[in-house]
Each structure stands twice: as structure tokens, then as C-alpha cells.
């Protein structure tokens, strides 16, 4: 394991992208930062700019409006980076699958611009904070 991967596992900074989620997954993500779960124990920090981020937490099946923004945010994230599709919508459009405005899911949009992107899926509507943390741990262990 190179020092880059090792240090990435020690301090993954995440940027939160909402691509048309109903806010449930977003609340669960913010829950991970609360005293009960406290992901800062593992060096995980929510940052304000995609240029500082190592992981993108994407919530919501991607709407037509959000797709170009998601691509732009992915391009702005310095590589290596991991994309997390958090929630049923982000994984597979969820209950909005037949919506006319849905162009997702997240992996399809990201793979259009980077076929080799590392994408992890955390299903659930919304996923529990435990599930999100477990997803992050699993994704980091296969890096």
C-alpha cells in the first residue's frame, strides 16, 4: 500500500453533493457528525469546497438540472477520490425511477466522464448513519 492510499484512509475529507434528494439522506449524513457517531474519530471531516475533498457523498437520483453540476463537481475534485452514492435514489433512482426529470443514477453520470471512477453504494431510504459509516469503512478497505 503506497503512502498516498495509507494517508487517504487516515483522513478522508468529504464533500456533500445533493443532486435532488428529498433531504432525508442529507439529515442522516449530518447525523454522522453528531456526538453519538462522531466520525471525526476516524479523521472524516465535512469540507466546504470540492477541491478539498477526497470523497463525494452524493444523495438523490440525479435530476436533469443537477447532472451537469455533478459532473463539474466531480471534475473539480482532486484525484484520487471516491464517490459515495448514498441512499436508494442515488444508487438506483429509488421511488423516483419513472420520473420524467430523472437522468441518473449517480454511477451512470459519473462514468460518462470517468469510466474508472471508484463508486461505493450505500442503499437505504434513508440509510442509517451506521450503514453510511460501514459503507465508508468498506470502500476504504478495498482502496
Amino acid at each position: 500500500m503506497s503512502w498516498k492510499t495509507w494517508s487517504l484512509k487516515k483522513s478522508p475529507w468529504v464533500f456533500h453533493v445533493n443532486t435532488g434528494a428529498c433531504n432525508n439522506c442529507d439529515i442522516e449524513i449530518v447525523d454522522c457528525l453528531t456526538p453519538k457517531f462522531d466520525v471525526e474519530r476516524f479523521g472524516i471531516k465535512l469540507v466546504g469546497s470540492p477541491r478539498h475533498a477526497d470523497a463525494l457523498l452524493v444523495t438523490g437520483g440525479v435530476t436533469a438540472q443537477a447532472a451537469p453540476r455533478l459532473r463539474e463537481v466531480y471534475r473539480q475534485t482532486p484525484k484520487p477520490c471516491v464517490v459515495f452514492a448514498v441512499g436508494a435514489c442515488a444508487c438506483d433512482k429509488g421511488i423516483f425511477a419513472s420520473g420524467y426529470h430523472m437522468v441518473g443514477p449517480v454511477d451512470k453520470i459519473i462514468r460518462e466522464i470517468d469510466p474508472d471512477a471508484i463508486i461505493a453504494y450505500v442503499p437505504g431510504c434513508p440509510p442509517k448513519p451506521e450503514a453510511i459509516i460501514s459503507g465508508v469503512v468498506k470502500a476504504l478497505s478495498i482502496l
Partner: protein
């Protein structure tokens, strides 16, 4: 030749770069840990700041298309150089008696360099968020420089016109009414210089998406993080030297010196954790009107005390 080597050693290894950065990482861990404890969390492990910087150094550096590349890349180095020089100077004055007349003025100048570098770097990055952050940082610098200089004037009056940090740190200025007023105000100025919460207006993560630093990534961001780590060593040390009687080299004075330093840092952290962010106009008003009036009173008290020989005023 040997003198040049000696100077290199001072700047690069012992009181300079290596020592300051390691100490700075430990103190920034302390900041995060105490903040976590205040919020009933566990907080990050001891080596977290090291991991962060190593990781950032291994990441891709993205430079915005319209950025002025030279200035964009030079700015973090300029800022770090300023703080490095400040830290080396302060430690050398403490340890090696290399004080000179007017070093307090040099220190004031060097303390502006990091903010100046932030302004340069963010305005070179061609980002609207960064330019908003730049304008806020400029206003903040204009805001806190006035009370800081006034507070130092109080100290200089109390010390009988000394412009020498070694001579100033022989007395404990904070043990008088004007001294404690000046100390409290300059604590808040240091809070603003470090960009800690009530005055993190330029970085404002929730509105400006980390403002001045928004376009920095990879190793350049790592240099900014190193600069911030060095600042949290140098600036409280400056306060300790100017107001609280300085550091000793050995024995009890050294223990007391570390105690004073930790006291200043913990005060900064507690202010950081118990206050919401101010708007830029509130911060300007706070520094100029409220702190300004307090310091004018402090200057008058100090001069009265000086003329009539009352040391507690």
C-alpha cells in the same frame, strides 16, 4: 561559514521550521480535541493533523483556468515564510537572547504577512467566492490591526518606552488594569488573525464554502495548513511574551511559560466554541468602536500610572 550554518540550523530545524511545525500540529490537534470535548464528542486521534497534511501532499493540484498561476502558487509560500520568520525570531529571543531594539515592530509587520498572502492567493484564484472572502479578509485586517497596535502601545508605555521584546517580557504587563484590558483585546485580535470562529468571516464554510481557500487543493492546501499550524504556535507565544512575562529556558520558569501558553490557547479555543460567527460589519464595529474605546481608556490609565508612578494602573 559556520555562522551561516548556525543560522540555517535555527531557521530550518530547532526553533524554526521543523520544531514549529511539529509543535503546531500538536496544538492544532489540541484545538480539535478540546472543541470535540466541549461538544461531548471523542475527537480525532493525536496524529490527525499529520495524516491530513501527508494526504494533501499526495493529492492532485488543480489550478483554476483563469487563475494568475504564479501568484496563486507563490502565495502560500510567502505566507509560510512570514510565519516561519516570526516564529524563529520569537523563539530565538526567548532562548538565545538575540533581541534587538524595535523587534516588536518587526513582529507586528511579520504578523500581517499571512493575511496578506491569503489576500494575494485568493484574489489570484479567479473565483467569485474567493473574491468575497478576499474583501472580507481585507476589512478584517483593517479592523483588528488598529486595536492590536493600540494594545502594544499600552505595553510600551507600561515598560517605560522599551521597543525590545526581551525587555518587555521581563515584566508581566497583564498584572495591571490597563495591561489586562490590552491583553483581553489583543487576545481577540489574535483570534481574528488565526481565523477562529467568531472571526472566521473570510473562510465562512457555510456561506462562502471556505472562502479564501476555496480553489486550493493538494500540496498547496497542505502548505496553507502548515502555515496555520505555525501561526497557532507563534501568535499565542507573542501574546505570552508581550503580556504575561514570557517563557523561561529551564526549570520552573519553563513550566510556567508552557502553562501560560496553554492558558492562552485554551482561552482562544473556548472563545471559538462558545460564539457564533459575526458579520463583517459587526466585526469592524466591534474592533474599532468597542475595542477602540477600551484601549483609549487603557492608554490613558497607563500614562497616568506612568506619570504618578502607580504600577497597578
Amino acid at each position: 561559514m559556520s555562522e551561516a550554518l548556525q543560522n540555517m540550523y535555527w531557521v530550518v530545524i530547532f526553533p524554526g521550521f521543523l520544531f514549529t511545525v511539529v509543535a503546531g500540529f500538536l496544538v492544532s490537534w489540541l484545538v480539535r480535541k478540546v472543541s470535540a470535548l466541549v461538544q461531548w464528542r471523542v475527537g480525532p486521534p493525536l496524529l490527525q493533523p499529520f495524516y491530513d497534511v501527508i494526504k494533501l501532499a499526495g493529492k492532485e493540484i488543480l489550478i483554476p483556468q483563469n487563475a494568475q498561476k504564479t501568484v496563486f502558487m507563490a502565495a502560500p509560500i510567502i505566507g509560510s515564510a512570514g510565519v516561519l520568520l516570526l516564529s524563529t525570531m520569537l523563539w530565538r529571543i526567548t532562548i538565545g537572547n538575540s533581541a534587538f531594539v524595535g523587534d516588536i515592530i518587526v513582529a507586528v509587520y511579520l504578523m500581517v504577512l499571512p493575511s496578506l498572502a491569503l489576500i494575494l492567493g485568493s484574489s489570484a484564484s479567479a473565483s467569485p467566492h474567493a473574491s468575497l472572502g478576499t474583501s472580507r479578509e481585507m476589512k478584517l485586517v483593517i479592523g483588528y490591526e488598529l486595536p492590536l497596535v493600540l494594545a502594544l502601545i499600552v505595553v510600551i508605555i507600561k515598560s517605560g518606552g522599551q521597543l525590545n521584546l526581551a525587555a518587555i517580557s521581563e515584566q508581566t504587563t497583564a498584572l495591571s488594569i490597563s495591561g489586562i484590558l490590552a491583553f483581553l483585546v489583543s487576545l481577540l485580535c489574535i483570534q481574528a488573525k488565526l481565523g477562529f470562529v467568531p472571526f472566521d468571516i473570510a473562510e465562512a464554510e457555510t456561506e462562502l464554502a471556505s472562502g479564501v481557500l476555496i480553489e486550493y487543493s493538494g500540496a498547496l492546501l497542505a502548505i496553507w495548513k502548515i502555515m496555520q499550524a505555525m501561526m497557532i504556535v507563534a501568535l499565542p507565544l507573542f501574546l505570552v511574551m508581550v503580556f504575561l512575562g514570557g517563557f523561561g529556558i529551564s526549570g520552573w520558569p519553563l513550566v510556567f511559560g508552557i502553562g501560560k501558553y496553554v492558558l492562552v490557547v485554551v482561552l482562544l479555543i473556548l472563545i471559538k466554541n462558545t460564539n457564533p460567527r459575526l458579520r463583517i460589519d459587526q466585526a469592524m464595529k466591534f474592533f474599532w468602536v468597542h475595542c477602540g474605546i477600551i484601549l483609549v481608556v487603557a492608554v490613558i490609565l497607563a500614562m497616568t500610572g506612568n506619570i504618578y508612578g502607580i504600577s497597578w494602573l
